[in-house]
């Protein structure tokens, strides 16, 4: 049974209303979780551009997230830069470093690309942990209270609507991007480089753009996280978090925006459930990742599409 357009719009409207009233119906903890989920959605959409759409196994996503967090926190905390400006600066810095990483690794592929970007991610975590003067090293860093557009963010409730608005803008921009010429170029590069070249796609440039954009998303997620969080510890910026985001997009379905969103919600919840058992997180994400890659390579979005026809998920 294909899902009709009115049904789609209807459920979107219901979801939107639910998202808007959510903080009025629930406790602070749920709102905190909701903020975190929205951050995960931005992270997952960003990694999906690189891995899902363009097919480049970059595994340094959390490094750019960390760059966004630290840049925003440092600029706002030590230099009194307004929060929105600090967030944009974090995005740009993450994007610039993503650009460089993409530019030096565009020739690598598959396992080589995965390994070198993994190494870059590890190196960045080491920087976060060791650069005491700037990041306060292994003890972690306090993030100042944010104030944006004239109102202070003192708790999760205050942040919620801003985080929600940013996430909605990011989702809509991503939908437009994926329908654009650039979005098609990403997929062309993923599916066949010789054909992409023969059809006028600058493969090298397209890969570098994918790296850059993916890093910009992660940097934005970091900056927004910094706007409602009061503390950042470098231990949370390790490979486990990259694997978590990778598992989100695989579970949701690589190359699907709806999939990235669903994956972020599902894995976000699982992560929260595992908060008491941090040592099991890595192994559980790993097992989920492998099971999905083996038995449901198209993820939840693919399963919905197969069940309800092609209009359901894209």
């Amino acid at each position: 049974m294909p899902i009709t357009l009115p049904a789609k719009l209807g459920s979107l409207a219901v979801a939107l209303i639910a998202l808007i009233v959510l903080p009025h119906l629930t406790t602070g903890y749920v709102v905190y979780l909701a903020n975190l989920m929205l951050i995960y959605i931005i992270l997952a959409l960003g990694l999906n551009i690189l891995i899902g759409e363009t097919g480049q196994f970059g595994l340094a996503h959390v490094a750019f997230y960390g760059i966004g967090i630290y840049t925003t926190a440092i600029l706002a905390g030590r230099f009194d830069v307004p929060f929105p400006v600090a967030i944009v600066a974090g995005m740009l810095l993450a994007g610039a470093i993503g650009f460089l990483l993409g530019a030096v690794s565009f020739r690598m592929r598959d396992i080589y690309l995965a390994l070198s970007t993994f190494a870059f991610g590890e190196a960045m975590q080491w920087v976060f942990k060791s650069w005491d003067d700037v990041t306060n090293g292994p003890n972690g860093m306090r993030i100042p209270q944010a104030s944006m557009f004239g109102f202070r963010i003192t708790n999760d409730h205050d942040a919620y609507y801003i985080v929600l608005a940013v996430t909605i803008v990011v989702v809509l921009a991503t939908v437009a991007l994926m329908r654009s010429r650039l979005g098609r170029a990403f997929r062309a590069v993923r599916e066949s480089e010789p054909a992409a070249l023969a059809l006028g796609v600058n493969v090298r440039l397209t890969k570098v753009i994918a790296f850059t954009l993916s890093a910009v998303y992660a940097g934005l997620a970091g900056g927004v996280y910094a706007s409602f969080s009061s503390f950042i510890h470098p231990d949370s910026l390790g490979f486990t978090t990259t694997i978590l985001v990778l598992t989100m997009i695989v579970v949701g379905g690589l190359g699907s925006i709806a999939g990235a969103i669903m994956g972020a919600l599902i894995l976000g919840l699982i992560q929260e459930l595992l908060r008491q058992a941090p040592s099991y997180q890595e192994i559980i994400y790993g097992v989920i990742l492998i099971l999905f890659m083996m038995y449901a390579p198209k993820g939840v979005a693919g399963a919905i599409k197969a069940r309800f026809g092609r209009s359901a998920a894209k």
């Binding site: 098609r184 599916e191 023969a198 059809l199 006028g200 796609v201 600058n202």
Partner: protein, 252 residues
């Protein structure tokens, strides 16, 4: 009066390690013609295509397109200059829909013209091309769900979407049924005679080659062994020995 060739390959030599795949090969293709490039498997035909589309770098020689060398053009620049191609071994964008495959071709044409279309207009244009190649019914399928013959037609559709001046077709009839080959024949004749396209055709289906080619060049082991009108080439003793003589096995 002499007509300048539309495409002129001059003394092209391509090596892979110790193997000389194409050896001092020259060929001229006239504007608005269908020029066949034939020869046994491994003769170097696809390698010539890969050089024209700038995917392979020859060790020596030059390729002139409309009088200017292609050697400074990057691989992603050939479509912008008006060259489109299909691949012998299929290089479709498998994981996306049939219509989106064609849209990537349209993107190249639009980039060349400096134009933009709305997603809706893009779709309509792509569907019009699929109508022409007989794939309209499959437009929403994923590309790799098509059978081999239809995938070949999709490669052709995608190349046509580039609105090229020069079209390189690498065994487009492989996997097609007789009725589909006849349709392909009509389509190519239409494109060349009515729309002024120039086509280089690598093909083993001799009935198609002989019926639509204006000129034929024969390659064997990287060397040109014959060239001329279809009737001349058909009579050539060397060609019969190298290639047509083993017609039965040549279609592999």
């Amino acid at each position: 009066m002499t007509v300048t060739p539309f495409l002129s390959i001059k003394n092209l030599t391509v090596k892979f390690g110790g193997l000389t795949a194409v050896n001092d090969f020259s060929m001229d293709v006239m504007p608005g013609s269908i020029h066949a490039l034939i020869g046994p498997n491994g003769a170097g035909k696809s390698t010539v295509f890969n050089c024209i589309s700038r995917y392979y770098q020859p060790v020596s020689g030059d390729i002139l397109f409309q009088g200017t060398s292609l050697m400074q053009t990057p691989a992603h620049g050939t479509a912008i200059r008006g060259i489109a191609r299909t691949f012998q071994n299929l290089e479709l964008f498998n994981g996306i829909s049939v219509v989106e495959n064609v849209m990537v071709g349209l993107d190249a044409a639009l980039k060349r013209d400096g134009k933009r279309l709305s997603p809706r207009q893009m779709r309509l244009e792509a569907e019009a091309i699929l109508e022409r190649t007989g794939l309209a019914d499959y437009r929403n399928e994923q590309a790799d769900a098509l059978d081999f013959g239809h995938q070949k037609l999709l490669e052709l559709s995608r190349a046509l979407a580039v609105r090229p001046k020069l079209l390189l077709l690498d065994e487009p009839a492989a996997g097609l049924r007789n009725r589909e080959i006849a349709a392909l024949d009509r389509l190519l004749v239409d494109l060349v005679r009515k729309e002024g396209l120039t086509v280089i055709l690598v093909e083993h289906v001799m009935q198609l080659v002989m019926s639509i080619s204006d000129g034929i060049t024969v390659l064997s082991f990287g060397q040109k062994i014959a060239e001329g009108l279809p009737a001349e080439v058909r009579q050539n003793q060397q060609v019969i020995e190298a290639y047509l003589g083993r017609e039965g096995g040549a279609a592999a």
